[in-house]
C-alpha cells in the first residue's frame, strides 16, 4: 500500500460495528451490573404495569357493563309521579297503564305500587324494625319488563295473586334470613301472614325492588286494605322508538298536567356509572404516566453514572478504534435495553394484574392491544430520551481525558 506522503487523506480504513455487535456490546454493561440494572428498570416496570392494568381493568370492566346493558336492554322506561307545583305529592292517574299500552311501539307495561306497612320475619317483631324493607304490589309481568329472573321458587301467577303469597327481592330475602324455600316459610306483612313462594335475583335496573316483598294487586286489596293506584310503571318499547315513546309519555299519561309525570330511562344510571369509571381510569392513567416519567429519570440517572464510572472503558474503546458514533450507540442501546426490559416486565405484570382481578370479579379479560403496544412502545421512547444525554456525553468525551486514571 503506497500512499503519497504529505497529502492528507480520509480514504483510509474505516471503523465498523455491525448492529449485532452493537447490541452485544451494549448488553455487557447491564449484564455485569445486574442488580443496579434491575433496580433502574423497576420504575419503568411499575409505570407500564400501571398503564396496562388500568387500561385492561377498565376495558374488562366496561365490557362487562356493556354485556350487562345488552342483557338488560336500554329500552326500559320508568314512569312515575314527579313533584307537583303547589301543595302535596302528585300521583299517576289510575288509568295510566291502559293509556301507555295504547302507544304503538310499547310492548310491555308493568305497574308497581308501594303499600304502607312493614315486612317482618314474624308477628312478634316490633313494628318500627322494618329493616328498610317495603311492601310492593306488582303486575304479573313485572319480571318480563325488568328481564329479571327467579333465584328460588316461582313468581306470582294469576292463581297465586289472589292469595297471601309473596315473592322476595334479593336483598329482602337476605335481610329476613330466608335463604332457601325447601320448607314453607311465612312472613308477617303488618296485618297478615304471607307465604313466601319465590326469591328473585337482583334487578340491576330497579334496585328498589330488591328490597321489597312483592305481592299481587288482588291480594293487596283483599288482605292489606289497599286501593289501586299505580306508583311506578315500567315500560318496554321497541329500541328504535324508545326516544319517541319517551317524548310522548308525559302527555299520554296525564294530558292535563304532563309536567307532573317523570320519565327516565333505567339504563342511563348504568351508563352514568360507566362514565364515572372512566374518570377514575383517566386519573390512574395519569398516575401511570408520572411513574413512567420517574422511571425514565431513574434510567437517565443510572446511565449518567455509568458514563462517569466507565470513563476508562470509553477511552479504551476509542483507542481500539470506536468512533464517537459507536460510543453513543453503545450507551443509547444500553438505555434501550434497560427500558425495554422494564417495559416488557411491566406489560406482563399489567396482564397478570388484569387477569387476576378479572377472575376475582368474574369478568371476561379484555386487554386492548393499544395498551400492550403503547405500553411497550412508550417504554422504548422513554429509554431513548433517557439515554440521549448520557450517550452524547460519552461520545463527546475526549479519548485522552477518558483514559486518564488519576
Amino acid at each position: 500500500m503506497v500512499k503519497r506522503p504529505g497529502v492528507p487523506t480520509n480514504s483510509g480504513p474505516r471503523s465498523r460495528l455491525s448492529i449485532r455487535d452493537t447490541l452485544r456490546t451494549a448488553a455487557t454493561g447491564p449484564r455485569s451490573r445486574k442488580l443496579r440494572s434491575a433496580l433502574s428498570a423497576l420504575g419503568i416496570t411499575i409505570g407500564i404495569a400501571a398503564l396496562v392494568s388500568v387500561l385492561g381493568l377498565s376495558s374488562s370492566g366496561s365490557a362487562d357493563l356493556i354485556r350487562e346493558l345488552d342483557a338488560l336492554g336500554t329500552n326500559l322506561l320508568t314512569v312515575e309521579a314527579g313533584q307537583s307545583f303547589g301543595s302535596g305529592n302528585s300521583s299517576l292517574p289510575v288509568d295510566a297503564p291502559a293509556r301507555i299500552r295504547r302507544i304503538d311501539p310499547v310492548y310491555e307495561v308493568a305497574a308497581v305500587s308501594k303499600i304502607s306497612g312493614g315486612v317482618y320475619r314474624n308477628d312478634l317483631i316490633d313494628e318500627g324494625r322494618t329493616q328498610g324493607l317495603t311492601i310492593i304490589a306488582a303486575d304479573l309481568n313485572l319480571l318480563d319488563a325488568q328481564r329479571g329472573s327467579i333465584s328460588q321458587g316461582q313468581y306470582l301467577t294469576s292463581a297465586l295473586q289472589d292469595f297471601p303469597a309473596v315473592v322476595l327481592g334479593a336483598v329482602a330475602a337476605e335481610r329476613l334470613g330466608i335463604v332457601e324455600l325447601s320448607t314453607a316459610r311465612s312472613i308477617w306483612l303488618g296485618d297478615e301472614w304471607f307465604v313466601v313462594v319465590g326469591i328473585l335475583n337482583p334487578l340491576p335496573l330497579a334496585a328498589d325492588l330488591d328490597r321489597a316483598a312483592i305481592i299481587g294487586y288482588p291480594a293487596a286489596e283483599r288482605f292489606l286494605d289497599y286501593e289501586y293506584e299505580p306508583d311506578i310503571i315500567y315500560v318496554r318499547a321497541y329500541a328504535e322508538h324508545v326516544l319517541n315513546v319517551r317524548s310522548v309519555m308525559s302527555a299520554t299519561v296525564n294530558p292535563e298536567k304532563p309536567e307532573e309525570v317523570e320519565v327516565s330511562r333505567a339504563s342511563d344510571v348504568l351508563e352514568a356509572r360507566a362514565a364515572t369509571q372512566s374518570t377514575f381510569t383517566n386519573l390512574f392513567l395519569g398516575l401511570g404516566v408520572v411513574a413512567l416519567l420517574v422511571g425514565g429519570i431513574g434510567i437517565a440517572n443510572v446511565m449518567v453514572i455509568a458514563v462517569i464510572e466507565r470513563r476508562n472503558e470509553i477511552g479504551l474503546r476509542r483507542a481500539l478504534g470506536a468512533t464517537r458514533f459507536h460510543i453513543a450507540m453503545q450507551f443509547l442501546t444500553e438505555s434501550f435495553f434497560l427500558s425495554a426490559a422494564g417495559g416488557l416486565a411491566g406489560v406482563m405484570l399489567g396482564i397478570a394484574v388484569t387477569v387476576g382481578y378479572a377472575i376475582i370479579q368474574d369478568w371476561a379479560v379484555v386487554i386492548p392491544s393499544y395498551a400492550l403496544i403503547g405500553g411497550f412502545g412508550s417504554s422504548l421512547i422513554i429509554g431513548g430520551l433517557a439515554g440521549l444525554y448520557p450517550s452524547v456525553r460519552a461520545a463527546s468525551m475526549s479519548p485522552t481525558e477518558a483514559l486518564r486514571t488519576r
Binding site: K3, G29, G315, R317, R318, L320, G321
Partner: protein, 243 residues
C-alpha cells in the same frame, strides 16, 4: 547528537512507506496562562520491525507524546504519519478507523473489561474493524496462545494475575496486526518477576517482526532496548538511532 531538521527532511518523505511511524516537527501546546508547551519540535521515525523505547521523567511530555503517536490527540503543529499515511486533517472517524487497523495500545492499567472473558477481551481488539465474531474469536485464541495464555481463554479478568491480565492486553493489542504496538508503562503495575517475563514477551514478539514502541520513565528497563529516545521538557534530548 542532535540532528538538524533540514537534513532529516529529505530522507523523511522520500521513503515514508518503509516507516511504521513518523513524527515531523510535532509541537503540542495547551491553552492557559501561560500556555503549556508539552511537546516542541519532536521528530521521530520508526521503521517496521523496530523496538523503540521512549524514555522520560514524569512531566517530560511522555503522555502527550503517547496520545499524539496513537492519534488520540492531534498535534498543534507538525505532522504524524502512520504506515506512510499522513494523519493531518483526518476526521475523527477516519482517525478511529486508522487506530482500528494500525495501532495496538497496551496500557499500564491493562483496561480489561470486567464482564468479558480473556478471549472476549482480546477479540475487542478486532471489534471495530469489521471482522466477523467467529473470526475474531478464532484469531484471539491463536493470539492468547502466542502470549502463553492458551489455558486461560474463558477466565474472567478478576481470575487472572496482574502479569496474565497484561498478557491479555498485549494479545488484544496484537490481534488486529497493527503497524506498531504502542505500550504505555506496560510493566508499571507488575512485580519484578512479571516485569521480566513481560519484557521477554515483547522481545520475542519483536523478533517475530512486530514493531514495538514502549514509553517508560524507567531507565533501567529502557537500558536493554535496541533503540532509546530520550525525552526531556517536551524535546528530544537524544535518539540512539541517530547517534
Amino acid at each position: 547528537m542532535m540532528q538538524s531538521s533540514t537534513t532529516l527532511d529529505q530522507s523523511f518523505f522520500d521513503s515514508s512507506e518503509e516507516f511504521a511511524l513518523q513524527l515531523w516537527q510535532v509541537t503540542k501546546s495547551y491553552d492557559g496562562t501561560p500556555p503549556v508547551h508539552a511537546l516542541s519540535d519532536v521528530t521521530i521515525s520508526v521503521k517496521h520491525g523496530e523496538f523503540v523505547g521512549i524514555v522520560g521523567a514524569s512531566g517530560s511530555g511522555k503522555s502527550t507524546l503517547l496520545h499524539v503517536i496513537g492519534t488520540l490527540a492531534r498535534p498543534t503543529s507538525g505532522s504524524v504519519f502512520i504506515n506512510g499515511m499522513n494523519t493531518d486533517g483526518m476526521s475523527d472517524g477516519a482517525l478511529s478507523g486508522l487506530r482500528s487497523q494500525d495501532v495496538g495500545f497496551v496500557f499500564q492499567e491493562f483496561f480489561l473489561i470486567s464482564g468479558l472473558s480473556a478471549v472476549q477481551n482480546v477479540a475487542n481488539g478486532l471489534l471495530y474493524s469489521g471482522v466477523s465474531e467467529a473470526e475474531r474469536l478464532r484469531r484471539s485464541e491463536i493470539m492468547l496462545d502466542k502470549v502463553g495464555l492458551a489455558h486461560r481463554l474463558t477466565h474472567m479478568p478478576n481470575e487472572l494475575s496482574g502479569g496474565e491480565q497484561q498478557r491479555v492486553a498485549v494479545a488484544r493489542a496484537l490481534v488486529h496486526e497493527p503497524s506498531f504496538v504502542l505500550a504505555d508503562e506496560p510493566t508499571g503495575n507488575l512485580d519484578s518477576r512479571s516485569t521480566e517475563s513481560m519484557m521477554e514477551l515483547f522481545y520475542s514478539l519483536n523478533r517475530e517482526g512486530t514493531t514495538i514502541i514502549i514509553i517508560t520513565h524507567d531507565r533501567e528497563v529502557a537500558e536493554r532496548f535496541p533503540r532509546q529516545v530520550l525525552l526531556k521538557d517536551g524535546k528530544i534530548e537524544s535518539d540512539s538511532a541517530l547517534a
